[in-house]
Symmetry: C2
Subunit: 396 residues, 2 copies
Amino acid sequence: MLDWHLARNFRFAGVHCGVRPDRDRLDLALLVSDRPAAAAGVFTQNRVRAAPVRVCQERLPRPDARGVVVCSGNANACTGQRGLDDARRMATVGAEVLDCAAEQVLVCSTGVIGRHLPMPAVEGGIRSAVRQLADSPQALNDAAHAILTTDTRIKVATRTVSLSRADVRLTGFAKGAAMIGPNMATMLAFVCADAAVAPEDLHTIARRAAAQTFNCVRVEGHTSTNDTLLFLANGAGRRLEGEGLARFTSAATEVCAELARAIAADAEGAHHLVTLDVEGLRDDHEAALVARAVADSPLVKTAIYGADPNWGRIVSAAGYAGVLFEEEHLSLWLGDLLLYHAGTPQPFDADTASAYLKNNRDVHLRLRFTLGPGRCTLWTCDLGHEYVRLNAEYTT
Amino acid sequence: MLDWHLARNFRFAGVHCGVRPDRDRLDLALLVSDRPAAAAGVFTQNRVRAAPVRVCQERLPRPDARGVVVCSGNANACTGQRGLDDARRMATVGAEVLDCAAEQVLVCSTGVIGRHLPMPAVEGGIRSAVRQLADSPQALNDAAHAILTTDTRIKVATRTVSLSRADVRLTGFAKGAAMIGPNMATMLAFVCADAAVAPEDLHTIARRAAAQTFNCVRVEGHTSTNDTLLFLANGAGRRLEGEGLARFTSAATEVCAELARAIAADAEGAHHLVTLDVEGLRDDHEAALVARAVADSPLVKTAIYGADPNWGRIVSAAGYAGVLFEEEHLSLWLGDLLLYHAGTPQPFDADTASAYLKNNRDVHLRLRFTLGPGRCTLWTCDLGHEYVRLNAEYTT
């Protein structure tokens, strides 16, 4: 926490307002830029979008955002017109306390869906949070806690990148317990930077970063109604371009990658974090189709849980991905162990393979095709009894 | 068993040959038509096809099939050139004992993949089976047992349909324990009829019947390397056409539907058989996309296992199916209970909904859109601890 790099002119707060019954649990975060910030967002592709997602989409990208209000414990999703009114009201109350226009405030929610927000609690929370805003690691820590749902820990990633004109600091934090994902594993992430970036550039950076990081975490193929990534850049002066913009983009993507890995690794209920590399298909899209088919297969995931080097399930999952190939084009490794080569199962020591799965929390699967340069890396997890327990018994 | 309608001029046998170590377990079935039969097949769409599937695909449709050899316990999949040679050898040995050309014999295998068939045992089994061929219910019963893997019971469906010229009998049997499907839940089904049908017509009938029946059983989206549906029609004389062909088609589809339901219901490890009706999309393809997204969602399946009427998971699974709709277009029922209407969650008694899930093995989900005439019905199951146990611990 002490070595976090805090982007300048941003302040944070996290409070308990009462969305959650547990009084020890922070449930409302406020993120403020003391200067108008370029802002851009990337949102769920789900056709069913929560009210706060709709409100953010109306308002982004923009050059003058001032704050983000986030509540956890209630997703304000599938809540109809009243949900939209509530989301807008959150922004309006935020604007009142920050003395700006409502359109300059963005909103996020995460938690159970289909219930209306307890607006008096949320409004009180915003007014209380504004009094606690600070640019300290402790304040960021509070905000990072206040957005969590089923996460077991906060996710923070920061960077400083030295550009010719000045150092730029990036401060990111996120929520999402991807591995066990009860109730759709909403992912929220916020990246604050004290660089000057054009809103349209920020939008491009956010989209690319999401594609290379958060969109590679694959748990159950279930995209949430609330997934949101917001970028805010509040630097003054001449906007970044050329080499400077490229280096900023790279640092921003690194922050997102660190947050995405933290989400993938927050797997109280999963035994294994599985890194799945697919390469050698005609293009990246084909590689992604194969990677998703394998990552989404419950048979593959239960085999990994059972420490069973069941290459047949993996090969056949690739086979129904909708990508044209012949068995002869495919080879498969589990860790360093070649299980299947050019369409033929290889003799391998089943005990060694099983021990690899038993003894490693991080396991690696590699599918190599011989059809082209397309590649994709996904992170996923196994599927075991804890997954069933958590998802079958999850309420509120 | 006594009221089975046996198609004339077909004989059956089931024996233990040694593919499986357990001597009490039948593991080789022989199905013989005493006259040349029109034959057609429908096969897995998986890019990774088992050797017997390839051999059947080379030989079908054809007008003069004489027999089918099926072994269980070993899928002869992912076995390279030797696997293909073994599959052809099974047919050749079948042809020797039936005194016909090798091309007139079809082959199927189901069981573990990536292992070579114990060919001496298989050959011995074929020679032994031919001596036991009979046109009795007991012989059909043996054959129906000999094709099983993780099934808990045989699946047989028969019909007699009266046409103007004569009665036609249809005898179908199948294997597949779809609900818990360890090792890819291969589905095999055989329909024998004593009608005269052109091979091309039989092919069309088989494809349509599969689309409306077997392809609607949805367990984990994992299509097997070995899935095979074979139709044989050995009637002599003028081939069916017009009204007679239509009535035959209808009866054949009924036989397949009964077998498919039996597969969906053979769910030792599942608590619920879920019938999922999706209607009101622009076309049947869109409805199928939505139905598959919901049926394949582990979050939906664990919620049903947990007796949790979690409409949010269902609605949001529909949302990522890749079909354009707005929330306002969607309503959702669990049994008779309206959970979600035109985009708005409905007040419902959670205890009643939960009790519906707790107290019924067969449960019904209905998603109604307002966008067109497209519809789809799928059968699937819940996902619970037994699924994990069976699939994580499954070996051989």
